[in-house]
Structures are given as C-alpha cells and as structure tokens.
C-alpha cells in the first residue's frame, strides 16, 4: 500500500497510525476516522473468525469512484480507505476510512457516506465461522439487506 493510494485492499493488518499520518495537512482542522472491527456476535450468532473475499481490481476502482463522488459533493481536503482481504480474527480491523477537512461537519458527513457506500458497492464478501462449527456467507444465503458494523 503506497502513500498515494486513495483506495486499497490489504492482505495484511491495516496500519491505522500510518494512514492517519498520511492525511496530515496544515489546512486540516478536523479528521474523522471509521474502522470496522470483527466482533464476536453477528445477528445473534457467536462469530469466531471470518474471511473476506475481495475482487480487488473492481473494489479499488469502485472505492476510488465513491471517494471522488463524495469529494465532488462535500468540501473536504482528502480521504482514504483500506479494506482487508483474507482471514481475520476477533478484534481485527476489517476496514478503515479517514477524512480530513477544514471543519468537522464535512469530515463527519463524508466519512459516513464513504463507509455506507463501501458496504453496499464494493465486490467484497464476508464468510463468518461460528462457534457451533458452521459457517456462512453474510447476506448471501438469504439475500437480506441488514447493516453490518
């Protein structure tokens, strides 16, 4: 993951401190970050671990498109996002979004919109492994549109 990538897919743990530092800008008065963490419960089932399958070529271009759309609509300075792929454990950071802007309202709104869009537009699939030994693709099995994280 280079310093210039607006949207990245990472097979290794996300370095949130480095990402935050990369957004430093003397014009920035506010930074809002969102992280999605793997939690121990999803829709009532005990989660032990999970795996993200990512189709990286389209995930990157679609993520870049989302951020460009948000930058067109909301006056921010910069935004970046990274999504994990592969096997994750409880507590791991699955996705990081950071937005800097002169004032806080724009950073909050832009960060929220970027993560909302990432969750529904990027070609990323989550397979959860449950404590009862079962596993399942989130959303896929019953085509529901519940919010996650």
């Amino acid at each position: 993951m280079s310093d210039s990538e607006i949207m990245a897919i990472s097979a290794t743990p996300i370095n949130t401190a480095a990402l935050r530092a990369s957004l430093a800008d003397v014009r920035a008065g506010a930074i809002v970050t969102f992280e999605g963490w793997v939690r121990n419960l999803n829709e009532g089932r005990d989660v032990e671990a999970l795996e993200y399958e990512v189709y990286a070529p389209l995930a990157v271009t679609e993520g870049e498109r989302i951020i460009a759309e948000v930058q067109r609509d909301i006056p921010i300075i910069a935004a970046r996002a990274v999504h994990r792929s592969g096997a994750l454990a409880l507590g791991d950071c699955a996705v990081w979004v950071g937005v800097v802007s002169p004032h806080r309202d724009e950073a909050f709104r832009a960060c929220r919109r970027i993560i909302d869009e990432i969750k529904v537009r990027l070609p990323i699939w989550k397979k959860e492994n449950y404590s009862d030994g079962e596993s399942g693709w989130v959303n896929c099995e019953r085509c529901a549109a519940h919010a996650h994280g």
Binding site: A59, H83, A94, W125, G149
Partner: protein, 80 residues
C-alpha cells in the same frame, strides 16, 4: 452462439464448484446469461441484490453481452 467467460465469486463459486468457466450461449444480456446458469449458482433472480460486471466494469442486468466478454457474477456484497 457467443463464447463467454463466466467468473463466479464467493457463494456462487462454492455452489458452482469452480472459479470460472467458458460457456456457449445465445443470451443477449447479462440477465439471460445469469438465468441460463441457475443450475450452477442456484439463484433465480439476481436483480436488486446481486451484481454483474462485464470486462471489469460494473454493468446492469440488462447490459448486452458480446462474444468474448468476461462476465463476473457477484452474489450480495458484505464489505466492512
């Protein structure tokens, strides 16, 4: 007849038992192609929750498919 390379992802890949395959088809659009493959991926109607990309560009279900296209079939996404 057209020759189309189809790629399956996540649940679709598991159900189809393969990452991709080359199919001969008379389908005019992505939806018709998807339906011809229902035995593979197990889903009747993808509209509203599944997505499709053609040659690495997000497409609509009524987008035309042409000979030699690479068609990616995406079950419902769950990023984040």
């Amino acid at each position: 007849m057209k020759t189309i390379n189809v790629r399956y992802f996540a649940l679709f890949r598991e159900r189809a038992g393969r990452d991709s395959e080359t199919v001969e088809t008379t389908a005019d659009d992505a939806l018709a192609l998807f339906r011809q493959l229902t035995d593979r991926h197990g889903t009747d109607d993808p509209r509203g929750h599944c997505k499709v990309a053609i040659n690495d560009v997000m497409a609509d279900w009524d987008s035309p498919v042409a000979d030699g296209d690479d068609v990616l079939l995406f079950p419902p996404v769950a990023g984040g």
